[in-house]
Symmetry: C2
Subunit: 160 residues, 2 copies
């Protein structure tokens, strides 16, 4: 019933649709375009990889991941998205996607799969904990973007 | 007094020393070796980049970063480490390293610089907030590694 395959360039519209479904589920704004996904994921030097899960021939979810570097542990994988469409939940689709990412990670030896979970999504956290995930509760994630990033970049001149 | 330069292969022993100083400061175990850093950071396809800060000719700190991919926003930078040695703090070294990473990020247009801060390090958080950082307080970071990762990878077979 379930099959998982690597996303190809022709999946970009589908991938974009599911990324926006994922963003809506997580109440987060998304701005990604098909052009960006095509350029960034399906060139000769891709910035990410994606897997598509199908259930009885219907697209059920996806995983999007890329290489990450832990200065303490070395090469690892960052699992940016793991999403299963509502009608396909509780069928093991998410676990199958995660297992495939883990199998891929074992091929080239990174130390682990790092990912973020929303703190309000306690059902997901419980599932991950049961599967043996280590939670780094001490860490907060932050970002410099837009004006804050531009101001920082401009301030670099004063150190030259 | 302050200069910032890209790390080169000859900096690997120094980089490793500072990574362990950083790990000790953050009370986190580190396992990285010089061989890993040399292979991963200074080959033709580096997994990370690093900057070294010097204050009056003495090594004062470093930044280590790499490409990250946000499915909602596109290409970005992950700043894995930003570290200033104790005797060089409060001299603007950290801000200068961050500004240089921001300037580099502006060259090839990623949407932002993503980073983690330890929740107990409120002085650092205050500084970042003043600089305009957006904190994603909702996010928790987790990892599958060691036995949990192996078990996941082995379970992939059942979906083939």
């Amino acid at each position: 019933m379930l099959s998982i395959r690597p996303a190809v360039a022709g999946d970009v519209p589908l991938l974009k649709t599911m990324i926006y479904e994922f963003a809506e589920f997580y109440r987060f704004p998304a701005f990604i375009t098909e052009d960006q996904l095509l350029r960034d994921g399906f060139s000769s030097t891709p910035k990410f990889r994606a897997l598509i899960a199908e259930w009885a021939g219907e697209v059920a979810g996806y995983a999007l991941f890329f290489e990450y570097y832990s200065s303490f542990h070395g090469r690892s994988i960052f699992l940016e998205d793991l999403f299963v469409r509502a009608q396909f939940r509780s069928k093991g689709v998410g676990k199958a996607l995660l297992a495939r990412v883990a199998a891929i990670s074992q091929q080239d030896g990174p130390f682990g799969i790092v990912f973020n979970v929303f703190a309000w999504n306690s059902p997901a956290m419980e599932v991950y904990k049961k599967m043996g995930a280590t939670f780094w509760d001490d860490l907060k994630t932050a970002c410099f973007k837009d004006d804050a990033l531009r101001a920082l970049a401009e301030s670099a001149d004063q150190y030259d």
